[in-house]
Symmetry: C2
Subunit: 500 residues, 2 copies
């Protein structure tokens, strides 16, 4: 066996082992957030500590240097997949070497604790109990930013983690463009006749909502042999390979749409993961490539499909069958209008399409300031409330519905939020290319048949997993990104809806 063969074998073994640890850690997290009793984090923290230490040892193992150098020296012999694997592992390896092991492990433990503390702090509306944890998380992230990309401003380095190439300069311009389109629309809208959506907040028994979720997943064409659904505080999707994906949701008895659109949103993430080609399993190229591309898929299904007249036409009969009393006086058009009601509000995950980006901008501003040392953690609530007043014109009554609402910071994700806005903005441009190639997709959607839509997305995006960089992938499908598709889409949709 020559050196390259040996290195290739080592490469496979390495990726397989790493995937196994990631799977185990992923299942521990899934259990923690969906099934575990409340006071069990201590043991889980110890286990996470051991496993993450092992991941650290694996990914920073000096033995990888020889393997990587050998494969890099013989690039021409490698398949495109392996070439890209080597690239990704090299990037991670070089980075891991900048992390002191004790920091890496301590951070993993901190995150395990912080998530638990955040959950309780949120329940009890007690930001000060969470603040010391967030302070540590921010301070670690500042340090980590220097390890990731020492030449960049700290926040740029973090943004680059979630979306390679993204930076504050781009985002400032992007958000500026959005603001210029959304704010005038919202102004006009505030004078328009308010939409009635009271019936969405009648009593919807959880047990029925569970049946509704199963139905929605079926319409979306999600293969339940490979995709489960669980219940959690803050819905998310996780995947262990393309054959094992889990979505989560949260049911509220007095709210039909919260879970409905979280299921469609997470279902979009799930379709992306389920659509990855088998060859990426057990490699560093498995899974969606970036948060922006991921959100482009989830929000495509949630909003562009899920909040369309065609989709409502398809699902309304079954919806009414499941909730005959609650929707007795509601017709399809009323339902369509209600789920598209735009109104400044408090909770990002339940925001309408139009105001959604404004919620993201609040978090962007705060993260930018935190990372630039222009804001102290203890002052987040005040700043949060100011920004909600300024951008959305709403008063935040408490931190539970304010700066404690999202799980991201407690999970260590700083720089993630902008991906939501970016992903939302990718959607309409993807739609435009899709329609150019497939012609009218809405007739099928109106029949509850998403197979053409999903088939196209699978072919163009899903099957590639992390093989291409996010920018490359997007450009290959859509050409250069242009936020105008998004602002045009919003303008058209809301002008029609509200007769502006």
């Amino acid at each position: 066996m020559n050196d390259v063969s040996k290195a290739l074998e080592q490469l496979e073994q390495y990726q397989r082992t790493l995937s196994a640890y990631q799977h185990a850690i992923g299942v521990l997290y899934l259990d923690a957030t969906t099934a575990a009793p409340s006071d069990t984090w201590e043991g889980r923290g110890r286990t996470m500590e051991v496993l993450s230490q092992k991941v650290y040892e694996l990914t920073s193992d000096p033995g990888l240097e020889g393997m990587l150098s050998c494969l890099e020296a013989n690039r021409d012999e490698l398949s495109p997949q392996v070439k890209r694997q080597v690239e990704v592992i090299r990037k991670d390896y070089d980075r891991m070497h900048r992390f002191p092991q004790e920091e890496y492990v301590a951070y993993t433990v901190l995150i395990n604790d912080a998530q638990n503390v955040w959950q309780k702090a949120k329940n009890q509306n007690d930001f000060p109990s969470f603040a010391p944890y967030l302070e540590k998380i921010v301070s670690y992230n500042k340090k980590f930013a220097g390890y990731y990309q020492p030449q960049m401003a700290p926040y740029d380095a973090l943004l680059n983690e979630y979306e390679e190439g993204l930076n504050m300069q781009t985002l400032d311009a992007f958000f500026d463009q959005l603001r210029k389109a959304i704010v005038p629309l919202l102004e006009k809208l505030s004078k328009a006749r308010p939409m009635d959506d009271g019936f969405l907040y009648r009593h919807y028994p959880v047990e029925r909502q569970r049946v509704f979720s199963d139905y929605l997943m079926e319409v979306m064409g999600i293969d339940r042999r490979h995709c489960g659904i669980a219940e959690t505080e803050h819905p998310y999707t996780t995947n262990f390979r393309n054959q094992d994906v889990r979505i989560t949701t949260h049911y509220y008895e007095d709210n039909l749409v919260s879970s409905m659109f979280s299921v469609i949103h997470e279902g979009g993430h799930a379709l992306y993961e389920l659509g990855a080609a088998d060859c990426y399993n057990d490699t560093v190229l498995s899974g969606g490539v970036s948060m922006g591309i991921h959100e482009s898929q989830s929000r495509f299904y949630e909003n562009i499909i899920g909040r369309s007249r065609a989709f409502v036409h398809a699902i309304f009969p079954k919806t009414k069958e499941l909730f005959p009393e609650q929707l007795a006086d509601v017709d399809e058009e009323m339902f369509y209008r209600a789920i598209n009601k735009a109104q400044p509000s408090l909770i990002r995950t339940e925001a309408d399409e139009l105001t959604y980006a404004l919620h993201v901008m609040v978090r962007y501003e705060i993260e930018k300031q935190l990372m630039a040392d222009e804001l102290a953690v203890k002052d987040i609530p005040q700043r949060w409330n100011q920004l909600y007043q300024a951008y959305l014109g709403v008063e935040v009554p408490n931190d539970r519905e304010g700066c404690l609402q999202d799980s991201h910071w407690s999970g260590g994700s700083i720089g993630y939020f902008p991906s939501y806005a970016l992903g939302s903005a990718y959607g309409p441009q993807i739609l435009s290319v899709m329609e150019g190639q497939l012609g009218d997709i809405w007739q099928d959607v109106a029949k509850g048949d998403l197979s053409k839509v999903t088939g196209w997305l699978r072919e163009k995006i899903h099957r590639h997993a992390s093989f291409m960089k996010p920018g490359e992938l997007f450009t290959q499908v859509c050409g250069p990104f242009d936020a105008k598709y998004y602002t045009d889409y919003l303008t058209k949709k809301y002008t029609e809806l509200y007769h502006l």
Copy 2:
């Protein structure tokens, strides 16, 4: 730092690391059996392979030899706990060295596959599809028996795994004694007036049964901050430490008692685990000491408490409140009699107290023959059906309700079943000692207050985790084991119930 201090540090580190891997493997198993979509075992198998290989490396690491020898040479300096840890690790270490690594890992993978195949075989009543897996499992277990205890007959070696000191000679005599007491009772009973329990098989909506489970766990005094409940095909309990225990159950819409008594049974296991002293966490002494002691606790709660008049008195009002229509024409005494109906039947887990041991004997006979090469796997169905005819007088209509009913063999557990009978037999002797020390416990039980009962069991049994050997522990609490307590208990209970 001297050698002993170093060895003690290594000991702690070793146990902590091992506990973490066991936790991860346990959560993967919990996920697989309660939440995972059906076709996801392939990825889990790969992960299990990596993790179990790591466990093999850890437990067979030649580096342990120095640590163990050092601590063994300095036994007198060690605390009783550490002494026992060293003993247990030495036993495992010596044994692991007899296992070839590839066998150990291949077996773990086999078990992961076999469980999935068994599940499908059971659903489809297709024993032949499961047979090749069971053949491999039996053949591995024969080999393993030689690694465990080369001087013993293979089946004795396996029995000894689940209950140190147990062997076929003891069991033959024990089962003989049971048969002599149970068979005449059953004969008399067959001529007695049959009991009406039809109302237990009315329509009981799953959603309500879930609420009932929560209520039962509350009456049992199970701390839900540390104990969860999930749904699975074949109920079991698992624990990650004394602060994180999970029970599972299975609901049938046309059967109230199946889930009811599985919850009380698994709740008994859970109380044992939850009651272990904190000092055993993250050590090899964590968790219940043997299957026999474990079953003595679960079946104590299930039968001695759960099927008592006093317990029924306590829970009947709430039961009726939850199922007012189903139990409209039922009173407390009818309910008590119905849940104690004795009748030869097909399914072990749903058997009554009286015939339960006969179900175990069928499995015991088959395992004994399999391990002695007196029975081929392919002939199990036929032998199973013969034995059910001979011991219980019932005809087995299909393998689904016959030899495919239990998950044990697919999980690699051969030699486990006798613990169920042994555990059942421990119960009445434990009760007798408890009543001797506490006086009348039934007044409290009738009020739904199990705190004295559980407190006594915690003090005498639960808190010790695996510190003592099972025989030692039982004898310390009860004196020498005598199956007469059990046969007397059964005779008295069923004579009174059926006016024999």
